[in-house]
């Protein structure tokens, strides 16, 4: 899985509990997707182990993971 420097050096440092399998699961089967104005795409999916919705942001290339966080504001 491709990731940005921001994901590796900031996101994972702040959220060391994130599992790549969660991210892959969200990308495989999102409950919602949105394309941002800057071309990045947001995906949301519920992670049972976490008990929360996880937002995953992917670069405009469609494959490079840029961000991921448990999204407090997401309403399915």
């Amino acid at each position: 899985m491709k990731t940005t420097d921001y994901f590796r050096e900031s996101v994972l440092v702040r959220r060391p509990y994130l599992k790549m399998e969660w991210i892959e699961a969200v990308l495989r089967n999102p409950v919602r997707t949105e394309v941002q104005p800057n071309g990045r795409t947001r995906y949301w999916g519920f992670i049972e182990e976490l008990g929360k919705y996880l937002r995953v942001v992917v670069e405009a290339d469609g494959e490079t993971v840029h961000n991921a966080f448990p999204d407090r504001g997401f309403e399915p």
Binding site: T4, D5, Y6, E9, S10, R14, R15, P16, Y17, N38, K52, R55, H66, N67, F69, P70, D71, R72, G73
Partner: protein
């Protein structure tokens, strides 16, 4: 508190305090707050930072700073972001004394900060002599020439760079009431 900019991704992260982000919330387009297990806001993430913020200017006012460290500065480039103040020249952003004959490149040859040396305090390059110490020597009445004599490897230009650095650093400081 740490401001870190990722130029390639155009992401700015402001770490208010160290910790693990348990949950996050987008409070404005592209602006996400990080919460820790105690529901404290520990950081702020700003996406497309260069298009919404003038990243070339940072003013620090009235903070009781004990340490101020700048590392890995991204080269300045003009931005189209509206700003309350005109975009600063790169020289001003780095405390360069363009009005005194101390060019930025020259200034940076004298004063450096390294987290491995004197806890990151500004020091004269190649020494462990802090700017603070040099200022105190001057305040004690020593001349630059006497300081040079006292400390081998230090030049008069080094001492003057300390003064210029201090003057620029205090540019926005106010005396507490």
């Amino acid at each position: 508190m740490v401001f870190r900019y990722f130029a390639q991704s155009d992401m700015l992260y402001i770490e208010l305090m160290p910790g693990t982000s348990i949950e996050s919330q987008e409070v404005a387009p592209g602006v996400v707050l990080d919460f820790d297990a105690q529901d404290r806001v520990i950081g702020i993430e700003i996406e497309d930072a260069s298009s919404v913020i003038n990243l070339s200017e940072l003013q620090v006012l009235s903070l009781p700073l004990a340490s101020f460290i700048v590392v890995d500065r991204t080269p300045y480039r003009a931005q189209s972001v509206p700003s309350a103040a005109p975009a600063l020249a790169e020289e001003r952003a780095t405390y360069c004394a363009t009005d005194s004959g101390t060019a930025e490149s020259e200034w940076q040859q004298h004063i450096v900060s390294d987290t491995e040396v004197m806890s990151g305090k500004p020091v004269i390059r190649g020494t462990r002599l802090t700017v603070e110490h040099i200022l105190n020597l001057l305040a004690d009445g020593l001349t630059p020439e006497e300081i040079v004599t006292k400390y081998g490897g230090v030049s008069v230009s080094d001492v003057r760079a300390c003064l210029r650095f201090a003057a620029r650093s205090l540019g926005a400081t106010r005396v507490p009431a």
